[in-house]
């Protein structure tokens, strides 16, 4: 495709447009010329890909900066962070924010706030949502349980077996099955109801976990791995 209104954009003009500094005549050219507009779009896409892939790529995580602030790093690790902070305006700014936040001492008399009296309407977008699968029909035997609930979240499968416990309560025996099973070893399980945490458990090295004796009802299950992945299953009906 050729420029409709030659001469076509120069490299300088294209870069100015990328920086959002295009003069009015350049903006007018871009508005009328499909060839130059397409060239700018391709350059924007390149710029966006590069910036997205490289954004803060060698910056320490905020957790790392926090451990540095609390003197929880080895001398070598701390020296690396000190050096990085000298060179990185963004981290330096974040570290200043962290330090200011930590320096506000929790004074006696400071009151914690109430948990908002609500439950989440939907999961946070960073949580991997598991969906319950329909029960597969099995041979009906007198007194036989319908089998565990099964939920899927991508390549992760959850088996949730509800069993009766004392006093009308139930016990949950759960299993996490994933292609990256090791990642879920030691994961933290929260059972939540109406926003409040009912119980916690940890996933063992075979993917199993157990939540003992809680009242039956509609429950959310949240499983967080040490690597930062979280699965959430909403509104599971745990009853016998």
């Amino acid at each position: 495709m050729e420029c409709s209104f030659p001469p076509p954009l120069t490299s300088d003009q294209l870069s100015a447009a990328l920086e959002g500094l295009a003069e009015p005549d350049l903006q007018a050219h871009l508005a009328r010329c499909p060839a130059c507009a397409s060239q700018l779009k391709a350059a924007q896409r390149f710029e966006q890909q590069l910036s997205q892939r490289l954004y803060r790529w060698d910056c320490p995580s905020l957790q790392r900066l926090g451990e540095y602030h609390l003197n929880r790093l080895t001398p070598d690790e701390a020296a690396n962070i000190t050096q990085h902070l000298k060179q990185c305006a963004r981290c330096d700014e974040e570290f200043a924010g962290l330090r200011a936040f930590m320096e506000v001492e929790q004074r006696p008399g400071d009151q914690p706030v109430e948990r908002p009296p609500r439950r989440p309407d939907r999961p946070h977008w960073r949580e991997i949502v598991a969906r319950l699968l329909p029960h597969t029909p099995t041979l009906a035997l007198r007194g036989s349980a319908p089998g565990p609930l099964t939920a899927e979240a991508g390549d992760i499968r959850l088996l949730l077996d509800i069993k009766p416990a004392r006093g009308g309560n139930v016990t949950l025996d759960g299993t996490v099955m994933a292609s990256d099973q090791d990642q879920w070893n030691g994961a933290l399980v929260h059972l939540r109801r109406a926003g409040a945490v009912l119980q916690m458990a940890t996933v063992d090295d075979l993917g199993g976990f157990r939540c003992e004796a809680f009242a039956p009802g509609v429950t959310d299950v949240r499983i967080a791995s040490a690597e930062g992945r979280t699965i959430i299953l909403l509104d599971a009906k745990f009853a016998i």
């Binding site: 120069t10 490299s11 920086e19 305006a89 924010g97 945490v197």
Partner: protein, 233 residues
């Protein structure tokens, strides 16, 4: 009776009472809460962990909502409270608890986790660039990648960029612009001894962009198909 002999129920009750005293400006004894934390983290007892959460949940809500920038997040605090507590647990469970000998240090770490979960979210959101305006959660989730292999890819892209820009000054500029998203004015303010004016920064950026855009290897690493742009650019 020694602390380790106390039942979990009794310990929880004493910790809750002492925490209440602390918040009401009365002298409080931290040993019960410390023992509860020890059972939750060092012994990794889920029931004790849940009791710790129950006692400190409201404090976590307060901390999360006090982080500067939290008001810019269009979502409630629930996710951040749970995430902060999970981070705290994973960082201090098992033998890692040994480095903590008193309650104030544990609470400082918990407070730090409340801050970092929000601040990391804000950092990641800023890095989503074109993705941040997308409403579709699946697309946003795809851009949030806790996969550690993503770091290897970033290292490869950066190594390719350094080959194309061998001069230290160009690498510094590329880092400021593409990794730290700094504007020309910010770059001049940060490195006045390297670039004196915004115009100087812009001119150097024109040259750098041209070199990067025309490299097929870098384009492949970025997942961009097709030939490098032709013509004057």
């Amino acid at each position: 009776m020694t602390l380790s002999a106390l039942s979990l129920d009794h310990l929880t009750q004493r910790c809750a009472e002492e925490t209440h005293k602390f918040h009401h400006d009365q002298t409080s004894d931290p040993q019960f809460c410390f023992e509860l934390f020890r059972r939750a983290l060092a012994e990794e007892t889920p029931d004790a962990l849940w009791r710790v959460y129950e006692i400190y949940e409201r404090q976590l809500y307060r901390w999360v909502q006090d982080v500067r920038g939290f008001d810019r997040i269009s979502e409630g605090p629930d996710y951040f409270v749970m995430d902060a507590f999970s981070k705290f647990y994973f960082a201090l469970r098992g033998p890692r608890f040994d480095g903590f000998s008193e309650l104030p240090k544990l609470l400082a770490y918990l407070k730090m986790c409340a801050h970092t979960t929000v601040a990391q979210y804000l950092r990641d959101e800023a890095g989503n660039l074109g993705v941040k305006s997308i409403e579709d959660d699946d697309v946003r989730q795809a851009s949030f990648d806790p996969d550690p292999t993503a770091d290897l890819m970033q290292g490869e892209i950066w190594a390719c960029l350094c080959e194309l820009l061998p001069e230290a000054r160009d690498q510094l500029l590329a880092r400021c612009r593409f990794s730290l998203e700094m504007k020309p004015a910010q770059i001049v303010a940060q490195y006045p001894q390297v670039w004196r004016t915004e115009r100087e920064v812009s001119t150097a950026l024109y040259r750098i962009r041209q070199r990067l855009r025309s490299d097929p290897d870098l384009r492949t690493l970025l997942g961009l198909r097709g030939d490098a742009p032709k013509g004057p650019a």
